[in-house]
């Protein structure tokens, strides 16, 4: 659908693009982390691209994940980047869209923030930080957005225990449970 975007991207920034693919009609370009800012700036400012609409940013945790039909060696390991950060962009003038994916390792989960280019990414980057602990360098206000400051850890990471709660208040007038006591 937007193959011409990928072609233009490869022609202009071939060194920055790790890999391209088309998934269910969406064009995906894997971008090297260090080139993300340059590529995104170009996508926004180049008249034939004119990506003016930030659709979403989110993250995928690849822990325990293996593509269907691939051998077990394709599973996530310590050496492979654990997180995929996705930026979806759309151009309302040319009506095309593209998804940028950036692979991020567990040890050093950071990448440049695109809030400076599209201010609409501000809160979504904060949400991604809140849930996955991805640090967006250059973000103007990278704080937790949904959870409270006292919260420890990142709940949407796949290794966060699924029913672990971190209560702020509890009653102090409850008797010891008589069933549990015996």
């Amino acid at each position: 659908m937007s193959q011409k975007v990928l072609d233009a991207l490869l022609a202009k920034h071939g060194g920055a693009v790790v890999h391209t693919e088309s998934v269910h009609g969406d064009e995906v370009a894997w971008i090297a982390r260090d080139h993300l800012l340059a590529v995104a700036t170009w996508l926004r400012d180049e008249p034939t691209m004119a990506f003016d609409s930030p659709v979403f940013v989110t993250c995928i945790d690849r822990l325990d994940w293996r593509p269907v039909g691939l051998p077990p060696s394709a599973a996530w390991t310590e050496e492979r980047p654990r997180f995929e950060v996705c930026y979806q962009l759309r151009s309302s003038t040319h009506r095309h869209r593209v998804r940028l994916k950036i692979a991020v390792t567990e040890k050093d989960p950071h990448l440049p923030s695109l809030t400076g280019l599209w201010s609409g990414f501000n809160w979504q980057e904060r949400e991604t930080f809140d849930m996955y602990g991805i640090r967006f360098e250059g973000h103007p206000d990278l704080r937790r957005i949904y959870l409270y400051e006292e919260f420890v850890g990142y709940p949407l990471r796949k290794d966060y225990p699924k029913d672990k709660r971190q209560p702020l208040v509890r009653r102090d007038d409850l008797p010891v449970n008589p069933i549990r006591k015996s």
Binding site: P155, Y160, K162, K164, R165, R170
Partner: protein, 179 residues
């Protein structure tokens, strides 16, 4: 005193929460003049609106008037999912209400956390404040809400609400220390 002070069961409470004639009269009046504070946080709110609206008409039972200040209300309706982040706010609202006060947990989310068994949802509002009546259902039918209200009225008349028993306990303790 040898009684389980924390329980509100009728057979336990009847041993020590005996009401004088005056208290019985006062509680009879209280049960028909409940002022609700709707602590509405989620989808159950729609069902609460319908139960409070003329078709099902909570007002028939004297729970006429939703007050939007906890200072003016004595029935806290917890309507919807309570998150851990909301806990301090809920406790604060409860503490601000005037005594005696009653609490209804409306829907499974407010009663037990419902199907949210994860990092953000509190497993029932009774983790933070004492609840008098729990209404199951996701969301509950209006009939269940009316049933819960009648149940609560019965409890108020018997002097078995959590805050009523707390009050009674304090009175007994003062009386015992005077002797």
């Amino acid at each position: 005193m040898g009684v389980e002070l924390s329980t509100t069961r009728l057979e336990d409470a009847a041993k020590w929460a005996k009401q004088s004639l005056l208290e019985r009269g006062v509680n009879w009046g209280r049960k028909f003049s409940l002022f609700t504070y709707p602590f509405v946080t989620a989808c159950c709110g729609m069902e609460f609106m319908s139960a409070a609206a003329p078709k099902y008409d909570l007002a028939r039972f004297g729970a006429e008037f939703p007050r939007f200040s906890p200072r003016q209300s004595d029935l806290l309706m917890i309507v919807g999912t309570i998150t851990e982040k909301q806990g301090p706010a809920l406790k604060r609202v409860y503490d601000q209400m005037t005594e005696p006060k009653w609490v209804i947990a409306f829907g499974v989310c407010a009663s037990t956390g419902g199907f949210y068994q994860n990092y953000h949802a509190m497993p029932g509002a009774d983790q933070v404040i004492p609840v008098d009546v729990y209404i199951p259902g996701c969301p509950p039918r209006p009939e269940q809400v009316l049933d819960a209200l009648i149940l609560l009225q019965k409890r108020i008349a018997e002097g078995r609400g959590h805050s009523q028993l707390r009050d009674k306990r304090e009175q007994l303790a003062v009386a015992a220390s005077d002797e």
